[in-house]
């Protein structure tokens, strides 16, 4: 039987990362993935990632995927696509469907990196054509270039719901509402804010009453729910939609591990049925390891680190690395992983209501319930500064592990400091040279360059703009507030699209000066 030092199932961020580490240590490594393209979910992630440099922050997901693939290729990893692992048998035998054959492989070690599957939620009409998973929407628009629908309602305000809503807007769909039964937005505030400012209304403490339509979705009714998630009569709202998108969480796809006989547990903190494993990814069966979402739902950035951990652990298991080197590697990776697991959204804070930032600033309640920071809340955050001339206004209001902005500014105007989750401050706002690097570097699209007073009663606001068509200078329109509501007249002054901005265009609009701190999006008339 064909034998490998290491067989990895799943060529997503964790699988590829594991393969790179293992192959670098000389292990004969093969990855199987059932998809036509490698990279797992990375290739559907078109937004810039959070984190620090080590976590590939501010690089778009699909680009990270390409980088990992290149690294894996250089390290000598064999990546087999369209290769469906149909079974994991005793003695680490992997049976794979490749083309019209099934092939038997033996692995001296195995890493399962199969990722996660979407959760579902039921409501009358949930089986109608037009009700789709958020993953389905991403697959259709970002992989196959087809819009999932025209008028769409999104259920779920976690990062997936928020990110996919934004992606839907980017490909030209109309997102009529973002709905969540929870009373607070589940995902990053900055993701919510960039959706809200385009005019998408948020309905927290709401859920779907029913999907309407005979043969396909033609509408949806939502209603408010009380604290025990029961509908409140009289609060129904109807929307004409052709598509309802469900983003209600993920569950580890751990069936192969169960099949192999690994000890499993149902761990709600890790998203469901997961193998019992240590932090290196060792399961109860020696030589079978796990990495990524299959062992607990987290972000792709964490999955990559976990993959590296499992990769070196497998290398040590088979004697390609000594214990000391493993410990050293683990220590570094542990540090990186811990960096990501800090802040308000850290796994340890899941389900907790946080009322203050690490700096002791009350969090924006409006952000949590409506998706945007209210005008009367914004000034209390340290990145929101005022200075003469053009200067950055950083509307980053939650402690998340992300710091590219502080390195982006060539003039060192912006500071986050040692603690990666600290809110950015702008100690040297007056040094701003209007280069726009900070705006383009912010994965949360939360940085604006504002000239509060141009001297003629107007102000200019430069904002990140990732939509088509790009408005021409001189285009007249309205400035939308953080809520997405029109607040003033606006005219496009310039649109900058530099290579260094990596597809985040910088749109500068002129608004009446009293709206300098209010207008945050431009809509052509």
């Amino acid at each position: 039987m064909k034998r490998y030092d290491l067989i990895i199932v799943g060529a997503g961020p964790s699988g590829l990362s594991a393969a790179i580490e293992a192959a670098k240590r000389g292990m004969k490594t093969i990855i199987f993935d059932e998809n036509e393209k490698p990279g797992g979910q990375l290739f559907k992630q078109i937004h810039k990632f959070f984190g620090s440099k080590e976590h590939k922050a501010k690089i778009r997901g699909f680009v990270i995927g390409e980088q990992l693939l290149k690294e894996a290729d250089e390290a000598g990893v064999e990546v087999k696509l369209n290769a469906t692992v149909i079974g994991l048998y005793q003695d680490k035998e992997v049976v794979v469907k490749i083309g019209e054959e099934i092939c038997h492989y033996k692995g001296d070690s195995i890493i399962i990196a199969t990722g996660a599957a979407e959760n579902m939620v039921t409501f009358p009409g949930w089986t109608l054509p037009g009700v789709i998973g958020a993953g389905a929407a991403q697959t259709m628009m970002n992989l196959h270039g087809v819009k999932p629908g025209q008028k769409i309602l999104m259920l779920g305000s976690g990062n997936v719901g928020l990110v996919v809503s934004f992606q839907l807007l980017q490909c030209g769909c109309d997102v009529v509402a973002l709905v969540d039964a929870a009373p607070r937005v589940g995902g990053y505030g900055v993701h919510a804010a960039k959706v809200a400012r385009t005019g998408v209304p948020f309905y927290l403490s709401h859920t779907i009453v029913k999907a309407e339509g005979e043969d396909k979705v033609t509408g949806v009714t939502i209603a408010e729910v009380d604290s025990s998630f029961k509908f409140i009569p009289g609060t129904e709202k109807h929307f004409d939609v052709d598509t309802i998108c469900l983003a209600v969480g993920l569950s580890p796809m751990s069936q192969l591990l169960k099949m192999a006989g690994c000890e499993m547990e149902d761990n709600p903190k890790r998203g469901g049925q997961v193998p019992i494993c240590d932090e290196n990814g060792r399961t109860s069966i020696p030589g079978i390891f796990v990495a990524g979402d299959v062992s607990g739902i987290e972000e792709a950035s964490s999955a990559m680190i976990e993959g590296r951990m499992a990769g070196i652990t497998a290398a040590e298991y088979l004697g390609y690395m000594d214990k000391e080197e493993l410990d050293k590697g683990m220590e570094e990776l542990d540090h990186a992983l811990n960096g990501l697991r800090q802040g308000m959204f850290a796994p340890k804070n899941r389900g907790k209501k946080i009322t203050e930032t690490e700096e002791g600033i009350p969090v924006s309640e409006n952000l949590l319930t409506k998706g945007y920071v209210a005008d009367d809340e914004i000034e209390r955050f340290p990145g929101v500064t005022h200075a003469k001339g053009i200067h950055p206004v950083i509307e980053c209001t939650q402690n998340i592990p992300c710091n590219p902005c502080q390195d982006a500014c060539p003039k060192k105007c912006i500071s986050i400091g040692e603690n990666i989750t600290s809110l950015p401050t702008v100690p040297h706002a007056e040094d701003c040279i209007n280069c726009g690097m900070c705006v383009a570097s912010c994965s949360g699209q939360a940085i604006f360059l504002v000239d509060e007073d141009c001297g003629d009663g107007t102000a200019t606001v430069t904002l990140p703009y990732e939509f088509l068509p790009l408005p021409e200078p001189g285009t007249k329109g309205v400035g939308l507030g953080r809520s997405g509501q029109p607040v003033c007249q606006a005219e496009v002054v310039s649109v900058k699209s530099l290579k260094a901005f990596d597809k985040t265009n910088l749109l500068t609009m002129r608004v009446p000066k009293e709206y300098a701190m209010k207008a945050r999006f431009f809509k052509a008339e």
């Binding site: 778009r60 054509p129 993953g135 389905a136 628009m141 970002n142 087809v146 025209q150 490909c171 597809k503």
Partner: protein
């Protein structure tokens, strides 16, 4: 209804295989070679892929990654083909699936 994304602000121009023709319930349609059958149908505005066996209810794309199997159709005479992960080929005969057959229920 323009369902295909011609140019994407981040991904740029969508690259596709060559344009080919196939049939859906006998009707001539076009799509791009190699894209999932479901994508071609979606672009053509087809939402209903099948009607269920027990309740005869319509179903369409749900997961789009080959897991849920809701999008199955009869393709070249073979029932239960997951159209979201099966590449489109020239001349394919794609049919709405009724239960496990391409014959509407009243003819089964």
């Amino acid at each position: 209804m323009d369902t295909r994304i011609a140019v994407h602000p981040i991904l740029g121009e969508t690259t596709k295989g060559r344009e080919i023709s196939f049939t859906f319930d006998g009707k001539e349609m076009t799509g791009y070679e190699g894209e999932p059958i479901a994508a071609a149908l979606k672009a053509a505005g087809v939402m209903i892929h099948r009607y269920t066996k027990k309740e005869h209810k319509p179903r369409g794309i749900f997961c789009a990654i080959g897991r849920c199997t809701d999008c199955v159709m009869v393709v070249d005479g073979v029932p239960n083909v997951r159209t979201c992960i099966t590449p489109l080929k020239e001349g394919m005969d794609v049919r709405t699936q009724y239960g496990v057959s391409a014959e509407p229920f009243d003819k089964q």
